[in-house]
Amino acid sequence: MLIDDSPNNPYVEQPQKAFWRPSICNRQNDILMELWTPKWPINRRTPIATAGSCFAQHISKALIIRGFNWINGEIGPPGMTSCSLKKYNYGVFSFRTGNIYSVALLKQWLLWALEIANPPGEVWENGGKYYDPFRPEIEPDGFSSFEELIASRNQTLYAIKKTLESTRLFIFTLGLTESWINVEHGYVYPSCPGTHHGIYSPRLHKFKNFTFNEIRKDLLSVMGLLKTINQRIRILLTVSPVPLVATASQNHVLVATLHSKSVLRAIAGELANQRHDLDYFPSYELIASHPFKGEYYEDNMRTVTSEGVQWVMSHFFHALQDNNFKVEITDSQLIPSKLTKITQEDILCEEELLAQFENLSVKS
């Protein structure tokens, strides 16, 4: 018979971060200590590429401001102002894909970049201008010809492969589970046809809310494709804390949002636990979880405030032990117009356009 007066259970040996009260309620520091411990060293020399949903743009901007080695795989023309570069979507992500809201869309881009699959011939034409269904807002005025659209997309596909070849860390922000797909061929659109450009047809386009298993499978495919390009690449996933603008799931948008984010968060967490080359950074928790009481959202309870972005990125850089903030940016194209905090005005978000349709909806 064991007789021992001292506590004897696994919790005794847990660090402070494992306990709610000292870590959350009574925390002594401005930030949450040990919130995230990177699996691998990441420093300012690490070649980093970014892609994903609107929130991902905050990450790329923060990396640039901080002087990290963010890869700009499609540098805009010399002499273009920062305002024009943004208008033409240069320097937003590491390649000019526009926002990539879903894993399925990322997988699609990689299949095209690796020439494992060919992009479909679908192009949207309106008023003599041509729009890329997979990058509908990439050019402010559309393309002047079909050939120009294809040449531009090919440039991006080339940039994807070239960029990832030299990337050591690929940061991808998971945005949505909801997508729209082509009925006949199954390819994925970044947004519903007819919202930006193009014409919606229920005959041609179908709503798809990707399931846990489907997304997990696609993410594993993505990992495989990335490794095909670059064996040494590592992936850091994060989930966007930005709620859905609108849902086509027939559910309440709050329910749909939590469903999407939960699925994405669960997949990211599970794969991060299983793989040595994949990690998860808790952007979502830092903004959307209840200890922070929504204080990092604007009044619309959707847009992350500048302070919220700073809050997230401060945890990121703290975890990297990046405490010497001396910016030495030599490439003028990487210098934002102001080296200050990132504002929502800087973020390009196609999903925001869906809000324009809310007044047309049937009132319940």
Binding site: E74, I75, G76, P77, P78, G79, M80, T81, S84, K87, Y88, E139, P140, D141, G142, F143, S144, E147, E148, I150, A151, S152, N154, Q155
Partner: protein, 252 residues
């Protein structure tokens, strides 16, 4: 109609045109203010006038105007800004790294025509023509014409000048179109009118016929350019520019 013409050394062709052909129909008088290269950049606004910030510029204005150091627009009917870096050479920097060729060129980054136009406009912001234009517009509401620097003489193709290599590697008609559109937009931003190079002087999409370059002279009287100067034009060219300017003024 009295015209005031501000410009760099390219004003020489306009001055030569007046000497050779006389004052063009529509003008009663033409007053020049010119200085080489970017020297007019040393002008500043002072009590509704443009005045030189240094003696060197003051002397050039005195010389080219025939006796005036300060630029006053009160009795002008139209102001023409000629040259001043509004040049197709702005494309050299852009096309060093980019291309509009649909099939790609030696790993250069493909950009759309719309993007090229925007890049041209942005690069032109750094040119002295825009600085002068904004200053002139600030002191007067009179009509302003923005006249471009001429395209290089077609003979430059045999000179192997790498600065103009981009003209052989891209679709020149598209480059021309983008340049004209960008310049027109820039001019319109200041409620001015862009005067493109006279169509009849252009060969092969983006070069000036050699005829218009022979015997070119600068703003210093009786000082002709060398035959190897492929940038400056002669009186025949200047005459066509002035006639186009008059047509545009009449259309206002």
């Amino acid at each position: 109609m009295k015209g005031i013409i501000l410009g760099d050394s390219h004003v020489g062709s306009l001055k030569a045109a007046l000497n050779c052909y006389g004052t063009p129909a529509g003008f009663t008088a033409v007053q020049f203010y010119a200085a080489p290269s970017t020297s007019l950049g040393d002008l500043k606004i002072h009590h509704g006038k443009l005045v030189p910030e240094n003696d060197r510029l003051a002397n050039m204005l005195l010389y080219t105007s025939g006796g005036t150091r300060e630029i006053v627009f009160d009795d002008a009917d139209v102001i023409i800004l000629h040259g001043l870096g509004l040049s197709i050479s702005v494309l050299s920097r852009i096309l060093e790294r980019c291309t509009i060729a649909l099939c790609g060129r030696n790993a250069k980054t493909y950009i759309s025509l719309s993007c090229l136009k925007q890049a041209i406009a942005d690069n032109l912001l750094n040119r002295i023509s825009i600085k002068i234009l904004s200053m002139v517009r600030e002191v007067t509401n009179k009509p302003i014409l923005l006249s471009q620097t001429p395209f290089p003489d077609e003979s430059i193709r045999g000179a192997n000048d790498k600065r103009w290599g981009f003209m052989e590697n891209e679709d020149r008609s598209k480059l021309h179109d983008c340049f004209v559109r960008a310049s027109s937009t820039m001019a319109a931003n200041f409620d001015a009118i862009f005067v493109p190079q006279p169509h009849s002087t252009i060969v092969d999409g983006l070069y000036t016929a050699a005829y218009y370059s022979k015997g070119s002279e600068g703003i210093i009287v009786d000082k002709k350019h060398a035959d190897s100067d492929f940038g400056h034009m002669n009186a025949h060219y200047g005459n066509l520019v002035l006639h186009d300017a008059v047509s545009m003024i009449n259309d206002i």
